[in-house]
Symmetry: C2
Subunit: 351 residues, 2 copies
Amino acid sequence: MVSGSDRVSAGKVHAPQILEGERPTLKTIAYLTGLGVTTVSRALKDAPDIGAETKERVRLVARQLGYQPNRAGVRLRTGKTNVIALVLGMDAEIMSMTGRMVYGISDVLTGTPYHLVVTPHMNSADPMVPVRYIAETGSADGVILSRTEPDDARIRFLAERNIPFVTHGRTEMEFIHPYHDFDNEAFAYQAVERLAARGRKRIAILRPPTQLTYSGHTMTGFHRGLKAFALEEVPLDWISVETPAAGQKDAIESLMRSPDAPDGLICCSGSSAIAAAAGIASAGKRIGREVDMAAKEAAGVLPWFQPEIIAMNEDFTSAGRELARALLARIAGSDPATLQSIDMSTWTDEM
Amino acid sequence: MVSGSDRVSAGKVHAPQILEGERPTLKTIAYLTGLGVTTVSRALKDAPDIGAETKERVRLVARQLGYQPNRAGVRLRTGKTNVIALVLGMDAEIMSMTGRMVYGISDVLTGTPYHLVVTPHMNSADPMVPVRYIAETGSADGVILSRTEPDDARIRFLAERNIPFVTHGRTEMEFIHPYHDFDNEAFAYQAVERLAARGRKRIAILRPPTQLTYSGHTMTGFHRGLKAFALEEVPLDWISVETPAAGQKDAIESLMRSPDAPDGLICCSGSSAIAAAAGIASAGKRIGREVDMAAKEAAGVLPWFQPEIIAMNEDFTSAGRELARALLARIAGSDPATLQSIDMSTWTDEM
DNA sequence: CGATAAATCTGTAACGTTACAGTTCCAAAG
DNA sequence: CTTTGGAACTGTAACGTTACAGATTTATCG
């Protein structure tokens, strides 16, 4: 009943010259279907008070015109930006993972209305700047943060203002928030395990910067491993994976030359592993002979570089996917407690 | 004359409850200054028909409130998005440079109203998709493209629609457009030169994928070098720097084992250099002894990896800066002919 | 038969901004 | 004294969308 197609009522849309060249809007569809703009809007949203046949008709025309909602219009009216902000602290290590992470995030965002805006900030500058900007200008619906600290001012800030976010890395804060993390504790433990299996006794670890949460996790796993396999720690806490490569090499070289040199080394990043390997070589030792090395990396080059290194891969593409998924769910209102995940290690020799 | 401060005329702004909590808008400033919204807008744009004193007053209030124009409002009214789109074809090599390039671009965009939106697209899919999307939805004021081909459909498309863009890499198309490129011809020539200086005679090159413009440049430089130094080419055209690493390694290994093995190898990417080095080692040869290798990389790890490799660094951070600068200038209306630049090589041994 | 409800559809206003076409005031010119 | 003109300011409308409060039509009930 009521075909509706002849219900072209009074002065709906005044200008029929809408049709030329320009991008189609709701108005265009309204004119073409003889419906009101509101009806078209609601039809495309599948609202319950619009007739089934009408919805079908509207959808058809919209598809044919290639209609895409105007982002500025939606944003102005609703405040919804359809933007995800990726906030990056820009150090050497992050540079190598950024591409992969962006890829993973985009992969999930494809087919959603979301765009990815990348907001790096210089390491020296105040890390609150980008986060404050996003909050003040409402320029994103959600934020992805990296380089998480146990008590992280950025996270406190976002949580207070109820701005959806996910962190790459955990915190030790009093509230629950979505995160994705790599199981660095397991990595360090398993690294010790592997060195023990090769008969190594005295282990040093080239650790992440202490202020980051995952540094603590790493050390926990390391110490747990040492205890479990009754190995000894050789201290190496005056450098980190973010010390300039030359510094890392020199430190490892002199460590390897010393009488208390370790016979096993764990490296928490690919570039560190390479610098350390150079240091070991300079000290006249060989990986797989006098020393063994276990390392984690993003690029997958270590095995090519030196197959004796016991290597594992941290998959930043999958991390990006996981982060994006969690953030979208958070924006949609999911319980943060259900949006926490941890990646497990896969060692290259097990693949 | 006319202090203006007591000219609070009739019904300007109806709602004084503007002041609470919410983000300040032109309306807020209008209310606070007793001016009209239009006047405030024009004052902030430094329009010529606004009094000097008024401008000063408006700017003061705006600064104090931390006023930032609403992007959606501006975009809806003017069509200006204040967005730069970075379109990335996602292959392994691009992943390693993305971080650096994003960093360089952001560096230039800081302090401008521009945001950076990253739009990767899967390699297999149609490369026109992202570009068409940007054009159809008007979602960016300008586009940065990588992986340029000599006759590039994306570039033709953008040029036709008059959408500002810059390319990372040149084309061979009939019109002038902004670009930034690395001088791959000089790189290849100088690589040959360096191998010649070490007494190498038979050179192979692990080249970029043939469809990309810079592959041609590279080969031109390579052949020019061979001629200049009277060296011989050993063909290696069944693999490229984008062949999976295992394939590259195997190809290099068997090439090195063959009776016509080259004594010099040029690698056009860091990951290729590492795979090739592994192949050389498997064939029982040593870099710096039986063979020499010259390579270009982004990460700066090659010298650590194996100091015998003659390495140079392609600086993607500076490329990002250059691309952003050129694009902003293009958007502002500069002549494309003035927005073309080429980066020169710096070899690690010269630094 | 009138009243009430349910199902569809609609116009108006508003989000924040700017282009445009005024308006107001005052000084200088005729 | 009127006219002209310029300087400084202003209101209205529009960009595309959606929330809201109706309006219209048809079916159902007493």
